[in-house]
């Protein structure tokens, strides 16, 4: 007779556990298939100087952030002061992918709010963005010394994301030997 109560209770507990896990998940966060894979190849004109190019080769040799941004992107504006802070602290080189933007608008944005990027690549039609699996700007990729993508942050980098996730990871990656 006791089983009569144990079984429904067990089913209920299992359901609560699953629903609880479901509540914690963010459906907006789609796991990137690029983690642990080399950065997709590209070569694009730079935002500031169209005659020069920026490509995946430029992301090799150091741990860097590759931040996807656009002047039309509201959350990028929100993230921007923190990127400025990072670039001033010179913890890590930050490169930009200016996604589906207009050159004048992008340059105006950088002039008005400041430019945290060493270089920004100009991806007017968004095809490089698609090749990197970009679906919601801002997105930030952590690329290691060998040019391998190690982490992807979808949505703005906040103080919390930085101290809890990005900074510890970056320190670990900076300590890695290239030959290893």
């Amino acid at each position: 007779m006791r089983m009569r109560f144990v079984i429904p209770l067990g089913v209920f507990v299992i359901m609560v556990v699953f629903l609880g896990i479901g509540l914690k998940l963010d459906p907006r966060e789609v796991p990137s298939p690029f983690i642990g894979k080399p950065a997709p190849a590209f070569s694009l004109p730079q935002v500031a100087s169209p005659e020069r190019t920026f490509g995946d080769a430029n992301l090799k040799g150091q741990v860097s952030l590759f931040n996807v941004w656009a002047s039309w992107c509201v959350s990028c504006r929100q993230e921007h002061p923190f990127l400025m802070q990072l670039s001033k602290a010179k913890v890590i080189p930050i490169y930009g992918l200016n996604y589906k933007d207009e050159r004048d608008a992008a340059l105006g944005w950088l002039e008005q709010f400041g430019n945290p990027y060493l270089t920004s690549a100009f991806d007017a039609d968004g095809r490089v963005g698609i090749n990197w699996g970009v679906y919601g700007v801002p997105e930030t990729f952590v690329v290691d010394k060998k040019g391998v993508i190690r982490y992807k942050q979808t949505g703005p980098i906040t103080e919390q994301v930085w101290t809890e996730t990005l900074f510890p990871l970056i320190q670990k990656l900076q300590a890695e030997e290239v030959g290893a």
Partner: protein, 152 residues
Amino acid sequence: MSPRILILLLAALSLPVTATEIRDFAAPSRQAAYENLIKDLRCLVCQNQSLADSDADLAKDLRTEVYNIIQSGKNEDEAVKFLTDRYGDFVLYRPPVKPITYLLWLGPFAALLGGGLFLWRQARRRSVADDDDELSAEERQRLERLKAKIEG
């Protein structure tokens, strides 16, 4: 409002409303392949819409990519691979069967089996219980006595 205007207005309202662009295809089979594909692929921006339904900018770009792949003579699998390579299995409304999705695919059948087993056991227990409804020897004797009393 004259009936004619009313009819025209209603006709305008009944025009098919779709987010998709008008595209030319080399062959009708490719058009069918394209249309099936974009119905089965999920838009990443508005996640409850397919690429076919979504009006998001990214959905438009991804439709163009799918169109270019199909139009270039490649098959559906290559278009699907293009998207899953970049966005993962998430873009598929029909997730592939692999260890991580076993629970998803087999869970309903396991639940059905478990439920069936439970019902079967319950039914058996009840039929055993039914046997207990038969009168015991003592009860039968009492019944006989009562019957004798009434009849006698």
